[in-house]
Structures are given as C-alpha cells and as structure tokens.
C-alpha cells in the first residue's frame, strides 16, 4: 500500500471525542484525538473499560459523543446516523442475521444500497470468495463454525466497500489456535484491499502484529499513538510501559548527570536527564544480557548488575531468570536453546546482568509531582 503523495490529510480524524455516561464518575472516553492515514490499520489497545470500544462505537455512529468531531475523508460525520456512514463493522458477537444465509447476510448491505438482485448476488459471492467461504454461501449462521461465522461477518462488512472498516475484538470469540491464522488473514486482506481499518483489542500481541499504528488507551484517554515498534521500545508513559510487554521496575532517584540511584543501592547509568528526582525505571527482560563468569561487559553496555538467581520460569521458547540485585528484582530472558552456564544454575547461584543506559525506560515516580 503506497500512500498518494497528495494525500496528506488523515482519512480518519478524531477530534476531542468525549463520551460521559450519565451517572458515571468519569468519562468513558475523554478528549480522544487522533489521525489515521488512508489504507492504514489502527489498533485501539487497552484494558477492559478503557474506552476503546466506546470510541469504536462512536466512529460507527452507534454512540453519540458528548463533545468532539469525527471526520472521514475530510467530511464531518459526527451528526450522521450509522446507516448513512458507510462503515463496515465486525462485531465481537459477529451479529450475523440468524434468519438469513451467509450469502443473504453479505448481500444485505448491498440490498440496502438499492443494488439490483443479480448484481448483489454476484458481489456477495465475490466477497465470500475473498474470505474463502464461497462454498458455504447457502448455510445459515448456526450451521457455521465460529471461525466461519467470523469470516462471514468480515465479508459482510467488506462487501459494501466501506469507507472505514471497524473491528470490535474480532478474534476474542475464537479459540487460541485459530486466532493467529485469522489474525494474519485479516491483515493480509486489509492490506490487499487497502481499506482503512480501526481494530479494538485488549491483546497487545494482536495489536503489535497487525497494526500500522497503535493507540494505547487507559481510563478514556489515548496514552500513546505510535507505530508498534515505538510503542514497545519507546513507551511514552508509565502506563504504556507496564501494559505493553513485561518489565522489571526499578525505583530510585535520578541525579543530574544521568545516574540512577536505585533504592537497593545500585548506581546505574540512565538516559532521560530531564526527569531528575524520584523516578521509576522499567527494564524489559529481552534487553538484559546474561554474562558468563569472568566475561567482560561488551563495549557500549554501560550497566552491570550482580545478583543471585531467585527463580527460573520455563515457557518453551524462552527461559526467564529472575534475579535479586542491588536494583531490586530484575529478570533476564534467555533463549531456551542458548548454551551457557545458566543451564546448571540453581536458585541462589550468583549471576551477572548487563544492559545499556537506553534500555532503562525512565518515568517520574507515581505520586511524585507530575
């Protein structure tokens, strides 16, 4: 998907969206603003209750914002009812019409557009073909498996050639084995058709794997809007750092000159000198290197911690080694196939950990003046 050079304005723009349910202490969606280029896939990622589904429903017109605007292709659709928005929605429950066949479901949107019967039958078949279900066109939803229903719902949403495709946790009702395959299929299809898509999920792997852009939401607000790598490697807020990926937390005081004095006594080199004072730093396990006995820290790696092994957790592909250090508990991740002294290590054994100053993601301590 190449973006036309002239197409600088985002295809979808949310401008200060607010939704405050009557009686709720805080808004469900609180001043959400973002832009999405044509053809891109945006994942709204966050814990349950963070406002991501409400945001999606407002885009679809199924909820009315209390404030803010929604623009699609430069057109303000905020006041349009859902049936005039021309958006394909795949619901979490799929919401297939039980009294219609798969083909009938897919053709429904075309029928509403007033398309002649023959034409819409052809288009419905093509849409089912797209998701590999042409053979099951005559089945009723209850005669289809969960994965098949999911694909009919997708075909139904795509058949109307929507301005925007909206997916509300489309994979959550599928079992884990199926999920990965369907995930990649949806992404491939979306890229092939070039349909601008918004995707709601609470699963970070799903979001990182599929999206061009990820908006991490918390308590109704967008904490960070960025590409997946950036979200993971350079989280903008403490929440993003803890919600996306695992990380050890190191509390301490950041001194001018970039020295982090951990509560446990360790002195570490850290970036982010602007945050001088009480801080919390996060360290991702895959960034921590385990050094062999007597092995010197490689050049360019500023920090070295010594500690003792507290616990090892085997999860198949990787082994997590949890160490007690002068910076507190720190976890290092080792590939399960990697050779090394760690294989014989028992809890209590000494180990040495190395990481770069840039690997410490530093944020102001919670409770400290922000």
């Amino acid at each position: 998907m190449t973006l036309a050079a002239t197409d600088t304005a985002p295809h979808l723009r949310l401008d200060g969206l607010v939704r405050h349910y009557a009686g709720a202490p805080a808004p469900a969606v609180d001043r959400v603003s973002l832009g999405l280029p044509r053809g891109a896939l945006l994942a709204l990622l966050g814990p349950s209750g963070c406002g991501k589904t409400t945001t999606l429903r407002m885009i679809a017109g199924l909820e009315t914002p209390d404030a803010g605007r929604i623009l699609v292709g430069g057109r303000d659709v905020t006041a349009l009812p859902p049936h005039k928005r021309h958006m394909g929605v795949v619901f979490q429950s799929y919401a297939l019409f039980p009294h219609m066949t798969a083909a009938g479901n897919v053709a429904f949107g075309l029928e509403m557009q007033g398309m002649p019967r023959a034409e819409r039958a052809r288009r419905a078949e093509a849409a089912l073909e797209l998701v590999g279900l042409a053979a099951l066109a005559a089945r009723k939803p209850r005669q289809l498996s969960g994965g098949q229903q999911q694909r009919v719902a997708l075909a139904r949403a795509l058949a109307i050639e929507p301005d925007l495709l909206l997916l509300d946790e489309p994979l959550s009702a599928l079992d884990a084995k199926l999920r990965e395959g369907v995930r990649d299929e949806i992404r491939a299809l979306q890229q092939r058709l070039g349909t601008t898509t918004v995707f709601v999920t609470h699963d970070q792997v799903e979001a990182l794997a599929m999206a061009d852009l990820v908006a991490v939401m918390n308590a109704g607000r967008v904490e960070q809007l960025a590409a997946p790598e950036e979200i993971f490697e350079r989280p903008a807020t403490r929440f993003v750092a803890t919600f996306v990926g695992r990380a050890a937390r190191i509390r301490g005081v950041l001194e001018p000159g970039g020295v982090l004095r951990a509560e446990g006594g360790a002195a570490l080199r850290a970036a982010g000198a602007a945050l001088v004072g009480q801080v919390e730093a996060f360290l991702r396990p895959h960034r921590v290197r385990l050094l062999g006995a007597g092995e010197a820290a490689p050049a360019g790696i500023e920090n070295l911690l010594e500690g003792t092994l507290a616990r090892r957790v085997y999860t198949g592909e990787v082994v997590s080694l949890e160490a007690q250090t002068a910076a507190g508990p720190v976890t290092a991740e080792v590939h399960a196939s990697a050779e090394g002294a760690w294989r014989e290590m028992q809890p209590g054994a000494p180990l040495r950990l190395a990481f770069r100053a840039n690997d410490l993601l530093v944020f102001p301590a919670q409770g400290a003046a922000a």
């Binding site: 017109g61 297939l96 557009q113």
Partner: protein, 262 residues
Amino acid sequence: MKPTWMLRVFAAIGYAVLMAPAALVLVLSFSAGEYLTFPPPGFSTRWYVALASNGVLMSALGTSAILASVVAAVALLAGGPAAYAIARLEFPGRGVLAALLAAPLLLPTLVLGLALLLVLQPLGLAATWPGLVLGHCLVAIPFAVRIMTTAFAAVPKELEAAAWTLGATPLRAALRITLPNAAPGAIAAGVLTFLVSFDETVISLFLVGPRLSTLPVEMFRYADQSADPLIAALAMSLIAFAFLMVLIVERLMGFSNAMGRN
C-alpha cells in the same frame, strides 16, 4: 439434591388436585348416562354429538372464534409496536409506559367488566361486536405486550446495530431484522392472546346480549343451570384445544419464556 420420597408424595397430591378436574371431565364426557354421575354407566360419544348439534353453543363457538381472532390481531398490531418500544428504545417514561400497559391485569375482571358496561350500555354498544372486542382487548393487549416484549428483548440489539451500519434505516432494520427473529414470539403471543380471549368469561358476562354471546358465557350459563355430560364434552373439547395451543407455544418459544417468568 434429589427429591426425597416425601417430597414426591406431597407433590403428587398437589399435581392430583391440579389434574383431577381435567381427568374427570375426560372420563365423564364419554358417559352414556344422563347426569354427571360417577362411575359413568357406559361409554358413548353421544354427548359430543349432542354438543355439535346444540345451536346456542355452536353459534356462541362461532362468535368466540371470530372474536378471539379479531382480538388477537388487534392486540398484536397495537401491542407489537408498544412492546418494541419498551424492549428496544430508550425514552423518558419508558417504565411508566410499561406499567400503564400492564395495569389492567392488576384489576379484577369483574370490576373491569362492570366499568365497561357502565360506559358501553348508554352508548348502545353493549352486546355489540365493537363492545366485545374492546372489552377483550383490555386483557389481551397487556398480555400481548408482555409476551412480545420478551420476544423482542430476546433478539440481540447488536443485530439491529449491524443492520444500521450496513445502511438500513432504523425502520427497515426493525422490520427486516428484529421482526423476523421475534416472529416465533409474535406467533406465540398471537396464540396465547387468542386463548385469553377465547376463554374470557367474566368481562364477557357483562357485555353479551341475547343476540350476541360467547362460548365461555353460554358454557357458564349452561353449567350454572344443569350439569350433564354435554358440558363435560364441551369442557373436554376446550381442554384439548388449550392443550394444542400450549403445545404450539412451547414449540415456538418455550411456554415459561412466553409467560415472562423470571
């Protein structure tokens, strides 16, 4: 816990009380005798034959069948949209509306019948079709609204939302998506309101006249004056009919669901 034998015995007594009248009606409707005596002196279908040739009862049956059909249709057409509103829409006073539409079921039919008589008699509408339809709608509409509300509420809201996003106006979504999926409930509501009207006795007692009378009223009057197996044959026919209707409803949406028990 598994029911104890003691519970089974006591429950059997309860069921016996509930089932005994229907059982006796069944036995005595085939009596060869002149009176409702036990045991019947012999087996005969003569009372069913006599029933079929009883002009008063048969004409009342015709009246009741037509009346119940009209009432069921009116109750569905008037109650359906109201039920949809209660089940689906959010608007101020929804609770009040639901309570208003259920209110007639709270009052004794005797008082409702009397009140209707006091209004309809001076207008010359007592013992007329419009009067009877109106009187029956009074109990049929609340009933239809209750069952249809359950039926509409059972159709997931998401279906309609999905239809909207596909370009269907709210009206088209309601007609094309929600209504077909609520259809079994609507049919069940129709069957049950038919039955409610068909069996309605007390309100009708106030609203019938010599030239226009319903089957339950004529049956009530017959039973009040004489007790012979003819009335048992009629009662048995009605029980069989009700059983058939309940069976249909059970097939369509589950009887206890239809009654809105929860």
